[in-house]
C-alpha cells in the first residue's frame, strides 16, 4: 500500500469539496458564508509551506551530501510549492473582493509576505537557469534556497504577528484557535489540510519521476 496517501488525498479533497459547502457554519459578522473559504484557501497555503519546507530539507541534504538527486528534488518541491501559491492567491483574492471590497491591498502584512515569497522563488528559478554546470548549480541554488527560506519565514511568520493583519482571527496572531472555528468546521478543516498536503506530495512524486526518467534518457 505505498499509494495510501494518493487515495486519501482524493477522498479528503472530494469530502471537503462536498461537505465543506453543505455543513453548518457559525454566522459571523462580515464573514458569513465566506468563512467556508478557510477549507480551501488556508489548506492550500499549508500545502505550499509544506512543499517549501521539503525543498529546504532537500537543499540542505544536497549541500551536506553533495548529491544531485537531492538538488533535483529541491527544485521539484519548489516548483510544486510555487504552483500551489497560484490557487492560494486566487482563492484569497476572490474572497477579499467580497469581504474587504478589494482584490489586493498593501495594508496586510500577509499579502506582502506572499508577494515577496513568490518573488523569492522566481529569483531561485532564475538563478538555477543562469548556471550551466550541474554541480555548481546544485550548490549555489541550495545556498540561496536555505537563505531565502529563512528570510521568507521572517516575513510570513514573524512580521504579521507584530502588526495588525486584516485577516480573520487578526490582532496579530494568525493562530488556529483564533479562526473562530467550531467543531463542525474542524471536521472539514483538518481533513482538508491533510488532503491538500497529500495531494502536493503526489504532484511532487510525479515531478520527481519525470525528472529521473529525463535524466536517465539524457545519460
Amino acid at each position: 500500500m505505498k499509494n495510501w496517501y494518493k487515495i486519501l488525498s482524493v477522498i479528503f479533497i472530494l469530502y471537503t469539496l462536498v461537505w465543506g459547502l453543505l455543513n453548518p457554519v457559525p454566522r459571523l459578522d462580515i464573514l458569513n458564508e465566506t468563512i467556508r473559504n478557510v477549507y480551501y484557501h488556508v489548506p492550500i497555503w499549508f500545502a505550499m509551506l509544506f512543499m517549501m519546507t521539503v525543498s529546504l530539507i532537500q537543499s540542505i541534504l544536497a549541500l551536506t551530501k553533495n548529491n544531485l538527486d537531492n538538488d533535483t528534488k529541491a527544485f521539484n518541491a519548489a516548483i510544486v510549492g510555487f504552483f500551489f501559491s497560484l490557487p492560494g492567491l486566487t482563492t484569497g483574492s476572490i474572497w477579499a473582493k467580497y469581504t474587504w471590497g478589494t482584490w489586493w491591498t498593501f495594508q496586510d502584512p500577509k499579502l506582502n509576505g506572499v508577494a515577496i515569497s513568490i518573488l523569492i522563488y522566481l529569483a531561485y528559478f532564475i538563478l538555477r537557469y543562469s548556471v550551466d554546470d550541474e554541480l555548481k548549480r546544485a550548490r549555489i541554488s541550495a545556498v540561496y534556497n536555505v537563505f531565502a527560506f529563512v528570510m521568507m519565514n521572517v516575513f510570513i511568520m514573524v512580521l504579521p504577528r507584530l502588526t495588525d493583519s486584516l485577516h480573520p482571527g487578526n490582532g496579530g496572531n494568525p493562530a488556529f484557535s483564533q479562526y473562530d472555528m467550531d467543531n463542525n468546521m474542524r471536521m472539514v478543516f483538518y481533513p482538508a489540510v491533510l488532503g491538500w498536503i497529500f495531494f502536493s506530495c503526489w504532484l511532487y512524486n510525479i515531478k520527481n519521476r519525470i525528472s529521473f526518467i529525463k535524466n536517465k534518457l539524457n545519460d
Binding site: L63, N112, I116, L119, I120, A123, I126, L127, S130, V131, K136, R139, I140, A142, V143, Y144, V146, F147, A148, V150, M151, V154, F155, V158, L159, L162
Partner: protein, 216 residues
Amino acid sequence: MILSLIKKEILLEFRQKSTIGGVLVYVIGTIFVSALCFKGRLDKPTWNALFWVITLYTSVTISGKSFLKETGGQALYNYLHYSPTQFIISKTIYNMVFMLALSFITFFFYAFFIKNEVENLGLFFVVLTLASTGLAAILSLMSAIASKANGNFAIMSILSFPVLMPLILVVIRISKQAVDGIEWAGVGFNFIGILVALNVLTIALSFLLFPYLWRD
C-alpha cells in the same frame, strides 16, 4: 587573519581612488537628482521612503561588486590561502563598516540638499546603523552567490531585492517613528529587536552557508 583580510580590503579600496571617489559621486549625484526632481516638496512619509530607496539602491550597487573581484585566479588564490569562514566574516565586517560610513554620508548630503525632517535623531541613527549593517551582511552573501552565477548585475538585484524586503519594511517602520519624533518611551523596541535578530541571523547563515560556495 580576519584583521589582515580587512586591512587588505581597505588598502585595495583606497589605493584605487577611482572606486571610492566613484561611490561618493554616485551617492551625491543620486541625491542631487532626487532633490531637483522633488524641488523640496516632500512630506514626511515621502522623505522617509525616498531616503531608504536611495540607500537600498546604493547598497545593492556598492556591495554587489564586493565579490566580483574574487573570480578566476583571485578566487583560486583565496581558496589556497584563507579559510572560507574567515573570508566571509572579514568581507561582511568590511562591507558593514563601509556601508555604515556610506549611509551616514548619504544622510548628511540628503539632509543638506533636500532637508532634515528627522525629529528624533538618536533613534534615527540607531536605525541607520542597524539597517546598514543588515544590508551589508545580506548583500555580502548575495554578492558571493551572484559572483558564482556568472556575476552579472541583473542577477544581483533579482536575488537581493526579495530577501532584503523584510529588513527594509521593518526599517521604514521604525524610521518613520524617528522622523515623526516619537519619544523613546513610545518607540517600537520589538522592531529594533527584529533588526538586531536579522543581523545576527544573516551573519550566522553566511557563516554556515558560505563554505559551500567556496569550492568552484
